[in-house]
Amino acid sequence: MAKNKGFNIRRQTGFTTIALVCFGMLYLPIVLLVTYSFNSGTSIAIWEGFSWRWYQSAWANEQVQEATVRSLVLAFWASLTATTCAVLAALATTRTRKFKGQSAVFAMINQPLMVPEIVTAVALLILFAMIKVATGYSGLLYLVVAHSAFCIPFAYLPIRARLQGMDLSLEQAAADLYATPFQVFRRVTLPQLWPGILAGAMLAFVISLDDVVITEFVKSAGQDTLPTYMLGQLRRVITPEVNAISTVLVAISVTMVVAFTLLSKIKN
C-alpha cells in the first residue's frame, strides 16, 4: 500500500505568498508607526533622521501625563472589579449542579462580546446622563463602571477555561477530608486557579486600556484617557508624538499578552 502522506496545506500553490501578504498587512502599519515615532522631523510620513525628541515631548506633555495616569487608574479598577465578578461567575457556572437556563446565563455574561460597542456606548451615555442629573456626580466612577462591565467576559473566559480543565476529584478529595466549601475554595481551588485569574485580569487590563468608543461617549469633560486624547490630537495637528505614545501602548499590550499566554500554559 502506498504511504498516506496526508493533506499538507503548505504544499498548496501560493501558500507562502498569501501568508506573507497576511503578515505584511498585519505588521507593516505597526512597523511604520514605530519607525516614524523616531523621526526627527515633524511629519509622520517623511523621514528626516533618528531622534528621541517625540518620546521626550510626550513624556513632558502634561496632558499626556494626566491621560496616562487616568488610563492606568481606570484599567486597574476596571480589571479588578471585572476579575472579581468573573471569578464568581465562573465558579457559579462550573461548580454548581447543572441548572435550567445555564447556557442563557453563559450568553448573558458574555453579552459585551455580542452587542455592538456603539450601542452599549449610547445606552450608557443615556443612563449615566440620567444619573448625573439626579445626583450631580460626574467623577471617574462612571468610566470605572462602564469599563468593568465590558471587561467581564474577557476575564471570565480564561478563568472558566481553567476551572473546567481542573480535576473535580481534587475538590471532592478536599471535601472528603473535612474541608468546608470555603476551605475547599481557599486551600485547593484557588491555588490552582490563580494563573487563570491573573491571565483574565491582564486581558481585562489591556482591553480597558485600549478602549475608545465607550470611553468617548461616557467620559465627562477633562476625563480623557490615553486613547481618547490621541483621537483628539489627530483631529488637530498630527505629529510623531502620537506615534511615540502608540509605540509605548503597543509595548505594554504585547508584554501583557505574552504574560497572558505564558500564564495560560502553566500546568497544575
Binding site: Q172, A175, D176, L177, A179
Partner: protein, 339 residues
C-alpha cells in the same frame, strides 16, 4: 442514574468489596456513601445515625480515589496532613500522626517531595496515608489498584489487607477484578445493572453462586440444563440430560418442578472412563496450561463442558483426544441457579 435497588449492611472492621463490571453502579454506591451523590430515595445509616443529608465534609468516612486526586500544589507530607488540619487538630498531634502514617506506608524519605515527583505506586500509598490519617471509621477505596502494574498490584493487595487488619477500620472496596475481590475480602457484594445480585464470603460466592450472572462473572463455569425432581431446604434432586439423577445445592426456598440451570466449576468435576460418571461425551480437545490441563468435552446433548485438572509431575494424561469419556462430580458440587 446507575443505581436501581441496593440494600446492604456492612459490619464493623469488615473488608467489604463491591464487585461488578463497569457501569454496574458500584462506584455510584460508593460515592453515595462518601456524600458526592445523593440517592433519590432510601436511607444511609452509619452506626445507627442517618447520614443521607450530611455533606461529604461532615461524614466520618475518607476516600482513596481511583485517580488518587493528590493535591498537586502540596508536598507528600502536606497532602497527608490536610485532613487533620481541616479537623483543627493541634500542631504536634498532626505532626505525630503524619510521621506515623508515612512510616505505615513507607514514605518517610519522600516527605518533602512534590506529588508529581513520585511514582504511581508511591502516589497510591500517599493517597492511602492521606485517607487513613484522620482515622476514619470507614475507608472507601475506588478501584485504587487499577492503575498499578501487575506485580505492584499483587503487593498492594496484601498490603491493603494488612493495613485493614492492623487498623481495624472498615474498608469498602470497589473493584471489577474478581481475583482481587476473592483474595482480600471478608465479604463480597456482586453487582450488576444497578442492583446487588449476591452477598457472601469469597468461598460462598465462588462455590455457590446464586444466579447465572454471578457464576459467569466470577471464575469459569459450566452451565447444564437439568430437570428439577424435588427440592427441600438447600438440597435438590435433579435429572441431567443423560437421564441420571444427582443431588445438587439449591437456594433456600427453591421449589416446584421444571427445567433449571446448574453451575459446575471446571475444577470440581473429573474425567472418567467411558460408561462411568453421570454424564457422557467425546473428548474434543486437551489444552495444557502448565499448572493444570483443560479438557473440553462435547456432551451427548451437544453442550460443551470444560474440566480443569491439576498437573502432577508423574502422571501423563490417560485420556486421548477424540475418545469417549464420562464426567463425574460430587453431590454438593452442582449449584441450582435462580432464574
Amino acid at each position: 442514574m446507575a443505581l436501581a435497588d441496593a440494600s446492604l449492611e456492612i459490619a464493623d472492621n469488615e473488608f467489604f468489596t463491591l464487585l461488578g463490571p463497569s457501569g454496574c453502579g458500584k462506584t455510584t454506591l460508593l460515592r453515595m456513601i462518601a456524600g458526592f451523590e445523593s440517592p433519590t430515595s432510601g436511607t444511609l445509616e452509619m452506626f445507627g445515625e442517618n447520614i443521607v443529608d450530611l455533606p461529604p465534609h461532615k461524614r466520618p468516612v475518607n476516600t482513596v480515589f481511583q485517580s488518587y486526586a493528590l493535591f498537586p500544589h502540596l508536598t507528600v507530607a502536606q497532602n497527608i496532613s490536610f485532613g487533620l488540619e481541616m479537623l483543627g487538630k493541634p500542631k504536634d498531634e498532626i505532626k505525630a500522626t503524619v510521621d506515623e502514617m508515612m512510616e505505615l506506608v513507607q514514605m518517610t524519605a519522600m516527605a518533602d517531595r512534590q506529588t508529581s515527583q513520585i511514582s504511581g505506586g508511591q502516589q497510591q500509598r500517599v493517597a492511602l496515608a492521606r485517607a487513613l490519617a484522620p482515622k476514619p471509621k470507614v475507608l472507601l477505596l475506588d478501584e485504587p489498584l487499577s492503575a498499578l502494574d501487575f506485580k505492584l498490584r499483587k503487593e498492594m493487595q496484601l498490603e491493603l489487607k494488612r493495613l485493614q487488619t492492623e487498623t481495624g477500620i472498615t474498608f469498602i472496596f470497589v473493584t471489577h477484578d474478581q481475583e482481587e475481590a476473592l483474595t482480600m475480602s471478608d465479604r463480597i457484594a456482586v453487582m450488576s445493572a444497578g442492583s446487588i445480585r449476591q452477598i457472601g464470603g469469597p468461598r460462598d460466592i465462588y462455590d455457590h453462586p446464586a444466579e447465572r450472572f454471578v457464576a459467569d462473572f466470577i471464575g469459569d463455569t459450566n452451565f447444564l440444563e437439568a430437570e428439577l425432581v424435588s427440592a427441600t431446604g438447600q438440597t435438590a434432586e435433579v435429572r441431567l440430560s443423560s437421564g441420571k439423577t444427582t443431588m445438587a445445592r439449591a437456594q433456600e426456598g427453591t421449589e416446584g418442578k421444571g427445567m433449571v440451570t446448574l453451575a459446575i466449576r471446571p475444577e470440581h468435576a473429573s474425567l472418567s472412563g467411558e460408561g462411568e460418571g453421570i454424564l457422557a461425551g467425546t473428548l474434543d480437545n486437551i489444552v495444557y496450561f502448565g499448572t493444570d490441563t483443560h479438557y473440553h468435552v462435547a456432551l451427548d446433548d451437544g453442550t460443551a463442558f470444560v474440566l480443569r485438572q491439576q498437573n502432577t509431575p508423574d502422571a501423563a494424561s490417560q485420556f486421548e483426544k477424540g475418545s469417549r469419556v464420562g464426567v463425574k462430580f460430587g453431590a454438593d458440587v452442582a449449584q441450582v441457579l435462580r432464574d
